[in-house]
Amino acid sequence: MLWKAIFQDGTTICSINAQGAEVLFREVLNKEKTVELLEFRVEYLGKNYSVSMLDGSFTIGIDDDAIKLFTMEVGVANPADFKYRLIYYQRHIQYFGTAMDSVGGGLAHIGIGWQATDKDGVNIKRVLKLHPLSTSAIFELESKG
């Protein structure tokens, strides 16, 4: 799994740098304090997923085709005024046996998306969950708010 953050000043941060070393996600959080984040991309199991911090849309790239998803429902107040805040995580699950050692589990899914607060103070969240192939769905969209 690889990720890439694209910023307003044209710079990018990738999870693997030019020297082949891993880069921590905190670099994105730190840079986002001074430069606007435009887009966050994840490459996972041969497919590309991205979330736009400009309009909240998701793009799913499969082979040479891409599907763009807008997830804002009717009734959400002033989406154009939203300040989208990036969501990215890897959810893990672990089971522990009698020796307190891990006896099963692994990566449950990868989540990318955003949350924002509407003019009424309601927190709205959209997360695209990327599941390992061993589960029934490759991806699903979680909507709250």
Partner: protein, 173 residues
Amino acid sequence: MATTFWWRELNGSSGSNTETTLTNINFGNSNSANLTPASYPIAAGNNSYTKYVIGIWSGDFTQINNVKFWKASGSLVTGETIQMTGSIEFATPSATDAGDPAVVTAQPAVANVNIPWWQYEGATAWFAAGPGGVINGPGSGSTMPMRLQMLTTASSPAGPVNTKTFAITYDQQ
């Protein structure tokens, strides 16, 4: 990012506690880690000592949060209850009923273990995390503290209880 996870238990008394890496989480009539139940049996109608356990992640990562803990398998015997809270500070363990809720038996909908502002590094060193729990230094760790306790009633049967499997989920960046 590669991370390592392990469990430790806090014993002793508040203000002068000790820490031990766990190889089991047996409950018993003793303020001690990795105990042998046969040596510290819980008489029917009594409680185990409270167990203050911490799960520790170490390695290079940005943040651990959204931690959920539950009992995934293992039936309770008659009169047996296992209590758990994930929002605690260390206190001297005792066999008095801590009054915590029963541990849930399915993955909870929301996080039930706090990731505190303090973070774990090495054997005894603790340091503060940044806003939102984001760890700003490399080679650091994060912790999940919990209190567990087993309760029994006078009707609980003699002999060992069933083995349980506990599970956690967490989000890592």
